[in-house]
């Protein structure tokens, strides 16, 4: 697969896996309104992933005439090591604090990324991001409010946020380490190198953490990690997610509603 298609799949996979994780809350939210909120965010993200998968599929079909890849093939028939989403996105939901923090980290990143990609020289990528950025801004607002509410809430909610920070901390650095497909995307003007977003990401996160009475994050260098979602080396958690998400298409190929 060419690197630019992989770049597009990376965006699609991030949105799909985040969307799927959020959809696991449907029917289990702490209160009805927030159950609906997470389900709506899931819907937005899965919609964004569909746009990216359709774009990737049309590229792949163009390069390999005779093949016919669809968005569903890309979402439902690829295996764990073919997915290019961040390790952050596949982390299990845990409690409400962890789900909120995962969304907050991801939306902060996605918002900064889309802000750059609306200027992409690849018109279809720019169009998808122009469409999506308004949704992402809203997710960011919602998750920021919850980080503040939990961080600056009760002793219990504050403790749970501290625990969530500890659990998700190891997966932040991956967001900003460029992968081969990101070098290619940046070189062709289709995308950007993510290390350029790092400073602003920490700035935005810490701004909200300060209001939330949570300790500031530091971007210290981490020892080399073996896991890298961008390289297809995932945590164990993605396998279980795919087993659930892909079951129907694998057991009953081609089935539709």
């Amino acid at each position: 697969m060419d690197l630019l298609s992989t770049y597009i799949l990376h965006q699609a996979d991030n949105a799909l896996i985040m969307g799927h994780r959020n959809s696991e809350w449907t029917g289990h939210g702490p209160i009805l309104e927030q159950d609906i909120a997470l389900s709506n965010i899931a819907l937005d993200l899965i919609g964004q992933s569909r746009n990216f998968y359709q774009l990737a599929a049309s590229r792949l079909n163009e390069f390999a005439p005779g093949e016919s890849v669809s968005e569903d093939d890309l979402a439902y028939l690829r295996d764990v090591n073919e997915f290019r989403n961040f390790i952050l996105t596949e982390q299990v939901n845990g409690d409400w604090a962890k789900t909120i923090l995962r969304q907050f980290y991801f939306s902060t990143y996605q918002f900064l990324l889309y802000k750059e990609l609306v200027k992409s020289e690849y018109p279809e990528i720019a169009a998808i991001c122009e469409k999506s950025i308004k949704e992402t801004r809203y997710h960011l607002k919602w998750s920021s409010e919850w980080v503040i509410r939990l961080g600056d809430g009760t002793l219990e909610s504050h403790t749970r946020m501290m625990e969530a920070i500890k659990l998700l901390n190891p997966w932040i650095s991956e967001l900003f380490i460029p992968a081969d497909f990101e070098y290619e995307a940046a070189a062709t003007g289709a995308g950007i190198l993510p290390d350029g977003l790092k400073e602003e990401w920490f700035h935005q996160v810490n701004k909200v953490f300060e209001i939330s009475t949570l300790p500031a994050l530091t971007s210290e260098k981490k020892p080399m990690q073996i896991l890298s979602g961008k390289k297809g080396v995932h945590s164990e958690q993605l396998g279980y997610l795919l087993a659930e998400m892909q079951f129907l298409q694998r057991a009953y190929p081609g089935s539709t509603w």
Partner: protein
């Protein structure tokens, strides 16, 4: 048949989730072109994951087929992205009459707080947000502190 007549016929197609709005009111019908005996239609989603898009496409085909038009190509486009500014004034009035507060401002890159101008039932400005997310992706949930009715708000987006 010309484009204007087709647009007229398409005013029968409503948003399945807000059945008082036509797809023109909502601003998601972007273009209609008669190319020989084929009708080419462009529509755009309000939100990336809007589940109504497929039903709307089916409804367009059904309505046109009733008028004997079955060579129809429907294309979904993303750019320029839909914003709530594409909704017509008539559409906003229909929303209010239906009990949904209409988007109160221009959507172009909002930074401040977006909220409805008033309760669609009693017009009181004494309102509060219940939830940023409502019954569909495009709405938030509010309540009126005077008449005490909850209501949906079609967000500036």
């Amino acid at each position: 048949m010309n484009e204007e007549q087709i647009i007229n016929i398409l005013s029968e197609v409503k948003d399945p989730e807000i059945p008082v709005l036509t797809i023109s009111d909502l601003g998601i019908l972007r273009a209609v072109e008669c190319a020989g005996d084929t009708i080419k239609i462009q529509i755009t989603p309000t939100y990336s994951g809007c589940p109504a898009m497929e039903i709307i496409q089916e409804d367009i085909r059904t309505v046109l087929a009733k008028h004997g038009l079955d060579r129809v190509e429907i294309k979904q486009i993303l750019s320029p992205a839909w914003t709530s500014d594409w909704m017509s004034e008539a559409g906003k009035q229909k929303l209010r009459a239906y009990g949904i507060a209409a988007p109160s401002d221009h959507a172009c890159f909002l930074n401040g707080e977006d909220q409805p101008q008033s309760c669609p039932h009693c017009l009181s400005k004494n309102i509060e947000m219940i939830s940023r997310f409502g019954s569909t992706a495009c709405k938030a949930l509010y309540r009126c502190l005077d008449c005490l009715e909850p209501f949906d708000y079609f967000k500036c987006h």
